[in-house]
C-alpha cells in the first residue's frame, strides 16, 4: 500500500510575491512531492501551501520551506491581520492514504526535532501531536503571538518548546502537528434572509452546543442564505449527519436545502461514507472500489 500524506504549512508572508515564490520553489525541489495549492492573503499577510506525497518527501519539503521562510521573513517587522508567532507559523500533517494519525504524529515529531536542532527554531507540537493537553488547541499555543511569546518563552516553563531553544530569533516559533483532513462544506437555503442561516449555524456547530467537529457561520452569499462550515473530522462527524441536521432545523422555519457545495479538496472517503449512508450499504469495504485495487498493488 502506497503511503500518502498531506501537509499544509502556513507562512507569515502574503504580500511579497518574490518571497512566496522562493519558499514554494524550495519546497517543490524535493522529489516525490506534489504541490497542490498556494493561497496568499494580503490582509492576513499569510500564505497557505498544500503539498502531498510520500511521508519522507513531505517532511523534507516542509523542512526546506521552513528553512527558506526563516531566511526571508523577519518577524520583528512582520504585520498582518492573522494571529502568528513565526515565519512558518503552523505545519499540520494530514493522513490521506495508507497512514494513520499516529504515523502523522511521528512525522510531526521528526520534523520538529530537525527544525529545533538544525534551524534553532522553537517548535511546539499541537493537536494530535501535542505533548500536553493544553497544547492541543493551536490558539492556546499561539497566545500572545510573536511579541508576547518572545518574552514568555525565556521565563515561563509552561511555554517551553518541545524542540529547539527556549528563545526566539527573527524566525519566531513554529507549531507542528497532526490533524484529520478539513472539509469545507456549505449548505444553501431557499431564503434571502440570513437570520435562519445564523440560527442553524449555532445549532450545528460545536462551540454553541452542536456537533463535535463542526465550525459554522450563517452568511448571505449572492442574496441566498448559506450555512458555511468547516468539518474538522469528517470520520467522526460525517457530512451526511451535518446535512440532515441542517435539513431538520431548516424545516422548523419552513425552509429547505436548495443545494450544497464542497470548497476545495475532499478525501474520497468522505463521499464514500455519504454514499454508504444514503444507499444503506451494508458490509461495504473500500477494497470494493475498483480504483483502490490498482493502487494497493502499486
Amino acid at each position: 500500500l502506497k503511503q500518502i500524506v498531506e501537509c499544509v504549512p502556513n507562512f507569515s508572508e502574503g504580500r511579497r510575491q518574490d518571497v512566496i515564490d522562493e519558499i514554494v520553489a524550495a519546497m517543490s525541489r524535493v522529489l516525490g512531492v506534489h504541490m497542490l495549492d498556494t493561497q496568499s492573503d494580503l490582509d492576513h499577510n499569510r500564505s497557505v501551501v498544500t503539498i502531498i506525497g510520500s511521508p519522507q518527501a513531505v517532511v523534507e519539503s516542509a523542512f526546506q520551506g521552513i528553512a527558506k521562510a526563516a531566511e526571508l521573513i523577519d518577524m520583528n517587522h512582520q504585520r498582518g491581520g492573522h494571529p502568528r508567532m513565526g515565519a512558518t507559523d503552523v505545519v499540520p500533517f494530514v493522513p490521506v492514504r495508507g497512514v494513520t494519525m499516529e504515523d502523522c504524529v511521528v512525522l510531526a515529531r521528526q520534523l520538529g526535532e530537525r527544525v529545533g536542532s538544525e534551524l534553532e527554531i522553537p517548535v511546539f507540537l499541537y493537536e494530535s501531536a501535542a505533548t500536553r493537553p493544553e497544547r492541543r488547541n493551536l490558539a492556546d499555543v499561539r497566545r500572545g503571538e510573536y511579541e508576547g511569546l518572545k518574552e514568555e518563552i525565556t521565563v515561563d516553563p509552561d511555554r517551553a518548546p518541545d524542540f529547539g531553544p527556549a528563545a526566539m530569533g527573527s524566525a519566531g516559533a513554529t507549531a507542528i502537528g497532526a490533524r484529520p483532513p478539513l472539509v469545507a462544506f456549505n449548505v444553501y437555503l431557499n431564503t434571502p434572509d440570513v437570520t435562519p442561516a445564523q440560527a442553524i449555524a449555532r445549532a450545528v456547530r460545536h462551540s454553541s452546543g452542536g456537533l463535535r467537529f463542526v465550525k459554522a457561520l450563517g452568511l448571505l452569499v449572492e442574496g441566498q442564505a448559506q450555512v458555511s462550515m468547516n468539518l474538522t473530522d469528517f470520520q467522526r462527524t460525517p457530512i451526511h449527519r451535518v446535512l440532515e441536521m441542517i435539513r431538520v432545523e431548516a424545516a422548523r422555519y419552513g425552509l429547505s436545502v436548495t443545494r450544497s457545495e464542497v470548497v476545495g479538496l475532499v478525501p474520497s472517503r468522505a463521499l464514500f461514507d455519504a454514499a454508504g449512508f444514503y444507499l444503506q450499504l451494508d458490509g461495504f469495504s473500500l477494497d470494493q472500489i475498483l480504483e483502490n485495487r490498482l493502487s494497493n498493488d502499486e
Copy 2:
C-alpha cells in the same frame, strides 16, 4: 493521466482446475496487468477472469488467455449450463480511468483483428464495438451456440465474423466488445415474503417496463426478500435512482428498505454520484477528490 482499462474474458472451462490455472498463468505473465479475480462455476462449466491495467497490457493479456484457451479447450466436447460459442466465449473491455468507451471500442477491434488473423478464430464485435445494430446484443450474436453457429457461419452472410475465417475449429468463435462497468446491487426489504420483491423487480427492470439499464430479480436470501440487480450503465441509470424507485414501490406494500449491498467491485464514480445526489452537491468536480490529484500527476 494514467489510462486504466478493465477486461473480463469468459472462458468455457469451469471444471478442470489445471486448465483454468494455465489460462490465468498465461494472462498474468504480461507485465503491467493486475489479476483482480477469477471465478469458476462448475454447473456453467465457465470461468470469468477480471484483469485491469494499461490498455496495451490488457489487450496483450487477453490475447494470451485466448491463445491458451484455444489450445486447451475443445468445443466439440465442452458441455455446461451456460450458453457458449467458443473456448474464449466473450471478452468485454470496460473503461475505468482516463479512457472513453470509444477507446475501448478501438481496443476491441485491435484484439479482434489479432485473434482473427494470428489464431484463425472467428471474432464477432458486440455491444458498443458492434459493426451492425443486430450484433449489439450478445445473446443475438451467440444464437445457436457453438453447434448451431458452426453450420451457419459457413453459409449465412449475416453470420459472417468481423475478423478471422468464416469457419469454426475446436476453439469455436469469440465475441469481443466494449461496455460500461457492471454494478451488482442488491436491496433488502423488511419481509420474509418474496412476492413483493418480485413485483418490485418487475417495476424497476428494463425488460418489463422499468429503468433502461437495470436487470432485476426478486429473491429470498436467508429468509429476507431481496431485489437482486445488475446495473449495466450506472452513469445513465444511477444507483440512487434505482434505490429511490424501489423505496417508493416498497412503500406501496407498507414495506421499507432495511439495507443494500454492492457485490464485488464498483467504480468510485458510481459512489461519488450517489453522494452528490443525496448531498445535493452543486458544481462538484472529480478534480476536487484529494486522491485524484495524485493520480493525475503520475
